[in-house]
């Protein structure tokens, strides 16, 4: 079974600076999707960014970008110009794209990000 590991339980960043959250995963599959979700104190799960494994180009969404290293099975999230509203739990998730797979998501344990004013 695929596993997702987030080795940083907590991270902090100064407002307006850049922070990188780490994620590694274990899979024998070649076709899959990777996601970063944000969970603020409201508990609502919000999709931040998505990466298709077959794409070499790293996904970007405004201040959020990823560094996807397929061979290393690494998928880190970079948040630039951090804002107070970025403070949240961040979850990395994996979903298989293989046929005959139920395509459910596997989540990491999460990283709690604190933004200091």
């Amino acid at each position: 079974a695929q596993t997702v590991t987030q080795s940083q339980p907590e991270m902090s960043v100064q407002e307006a600076e850049t922070v990188t959250l780490s994620c590694t995963y274990d899979t024998s599959e070649s076709d899959y999707y990777l996601f970063w979700y944000k969970q603020p104190p409201s508990r609502q799960m919000i999709l931040v960014i998505r990466q298709e494994a077959y794409k070499q180009q790293n996904a970007t969404e405004n201040r959020f970008s990823v560094n996807f290293q397929k061979a290393a099975k690494s998928f880190s999230l970079k948040i630039s110009d951090s804002q107070l509203g970025d403070a949240a739990m961040y979850f990395c998730a994996y979903r298989s794209a293989e046929l005959n797979n139920n395509n459910d998501m596997r989540f990491g344990a999460g990283t709690r990000l604190t933004v200091k004013p």
Binding site: V4, Q6, P9, Y32, Y33, F35, S42, R43, Q44, M45, L47, R50, E52, F91, R95, S96, A97, N101, N102, N103, D104, M105, F107, G108, A109, G110
Partner: protein, 113 residues
């Protein structure tokens, strides 16, 4: 559109009591999921459904049952609650296709005494 809604938002149960959590989605999604979230463990899949009338077990199904009688609703049942089932429960739904975005409900906090 309301998206994915969950009822109730919070509940306290005594050990041995039963209850049903309701998830409803108005996006006509085929796939629906129930997860539990515990500190330090991320979200773990309890049960899921790939269409009306179908259900399947996820990673941690013991102690739970589900039903999907209508496409828009996915019910999670606890027949005899245990303290180990104290958790935050999330429902999610999405279209078919592995690329599709998964939409989550706001969560239900359950405390079993």
């Amino acid at each position: 559109n309301a998206g994915v809604t969950q009822t109730p938002k919070f509940r306290v149960l005594k050990t041995g009591q039963s209850m049903t959590l309701l998830c409803a989605q108005d996006m006509n999604h085929e796939y629906m999921y129930w997860y539990r979230q515990d500190p330090g463990m991320g979200l773990r899949l309890i049960h899921y459904s790939v269409g009306e009338g179908t259900t399947a077990k996820g990673e941690v199904p013991d102690g739970y049952n589900v039903s999907r009688l209508k496409k828009q609703n996915f019910l999670l049942g606890l027949e005899s609650a245990a303290p180990s089932q104290t958790s935050v429960y999330f429902c999610a739904s999405r279209e078919q296709g592995a690329r599709e975005t998964q939409y989550f409900g706001p969560g239900t906090r359950l405390l079993v005494l």
